[in-house]
């Protein structure tokens, strides 16, 4: 699969947020993972939202060429970690992960969550969990459903160094051949990946 982002431009209230941004991601390539860098307010989140189909660009295009292996002709399926956790606060971690996709059983959700979250936290309503725990739930929720691409906006926010390493390992071990686009201020511990600097 080939994702080609061409000359994406986006303005808000007359202010240019993204100015002719270009990016090409070839899922067959070893350099398919991308780290988006740039100061706050530069448009990283906007670019990720455009890629996820949540916003439209003022100009430019995103072209997706599906290979046969990706099931040609299908729409791009995205696994996403938002800037905020966007969890269903009254539901448990297991329910939050299992609810998004009927193909994910609670057993599978529990097993996946167990890799980066303590057992006793799995069945509590997520509103009772710490910020870092909630972040991990949001990450597992993005990772588990079948998707063509993973988009993560500041996924390491609120994680202590030890947990951060566990989470990064979990992401890299479970992402398979899916390309991952990460916008992150914290780059410590992240494996080497192609960087796209927004200025």
């Amino acid at each position: 699969m080939l994702i080609q982002i061409r000359d994406i431009t986006k303005t808000y209230d007359g202010k240019i947020v993204l100015d002719r941004v270009n990016l090409m991601i070839d899922t067959a390539s070893d350099s398919r993972d991308v780290l988006l860098r740039g100061p706050s307010g530069i448009g990283k989140t906007t670019l990720l939202r455009i890629m996820a189909g949540l916003e439209t660009a003022d100009s430019g295009s995103i072209e997706i060429t599906m290979g046969e292996a990706a099931g040609g002709g299908k729409k791009l399926r995205v696994g996403m970690v938002f800037q905020e956790n966007r969890l269903l606060e009254q539901f448990s971690a297991v329910e939050n992960v299992a609810c998004v996709d009927p193909m994910i059983s609670r057993v599978r959700a529990r097993e996946a969550l167990g890799k980066i979250l303590e057992e006793e936290a799995l069945d509590k309503p997520v509103r009772e969990l710490s910020g870092g725990m909630q972040r991990r739930v949001a990450i597992v929720r993005a990772m588990l459903p079948a998707s063509d691409i993973l988009i993560m906006d500041e996924p390491l926010t609120g994680l202590d160094p030890e947990t951060r390493d566990r989470v990064i390992n979990y992401i890299m071990e479970n992402k398979g051949r899916r390309p991952i686009i990460i916008a992150s201020h914290e780059t410590e511990g992240l494996p080497k990946m192609r960087e796209l600097a927004l200025v």
Binding site: L54, C99, D101, P102
Partner: protein, 241 residues
Amino acid sequence: MLKKSFIVIFWLLIWHLTSLLVHNNIMLAGPVNTIIALKRMILTGEYWQSILFSAVRIMGGFFIGSIIGILLAWLSYREKYAEDILKPFITTLKAIPVASFVIILLIWAGNKILSLYVSTLVVIPVLYLNTLSGLKATDPKLLEMAEVFRMPMLRKLCYIYLPSLYPFWNSSLQAALGMAWKSGVAAEVIGQPLKSVGNSLYQSKIYLETADLFAWTITIILTAMILEKLILKVLKVCIKA
């Protein structure tokens, strides 16, 4: 619990003292006479028949009105023009006095299931407006999350919309149920269907049986209260909020 009992006893005492002061059972029957009347009524089959007759119709109207109100609210939420089209209809339903409804429907539909129609029409605007407010208050960020993950509609309903609707339904169902009973019984008092609570109330008034009138009133309050508790319990069990 002790505090509640104390409050109830306090008001019963006020009622009792006032009735002693008035000293006229036709003007104001006291709690003792009312309880005696209630006890006598409970032992008759007619009492239970009347409750069943009225409850089936009023609650039937309540459920039909709730379903119509909720479906119309969903339609308005999905299509803005539907909200604009429905606005005058809902405003009219809200503004028409219950007595007008009753008389119009009495002419159109007769008195047998008048209370069902009336309570349906009274409940529709309450559930419509509250459901629409609840739907509009649904967290757009969660809806965006659901869109990204392509959550099936049924799951979106269970996990996102229903928890958002819960506080709105919790208050509106209580209000709607109270209104359904008030208007339903009023419809029966005017329409006079045989063996209904409204008819029994009317008979008590004709024969100046104030104690019976109070006993029927207590019956209506208790029935509505029990059904309200039951509905809210079911709502709480069904929706995780």
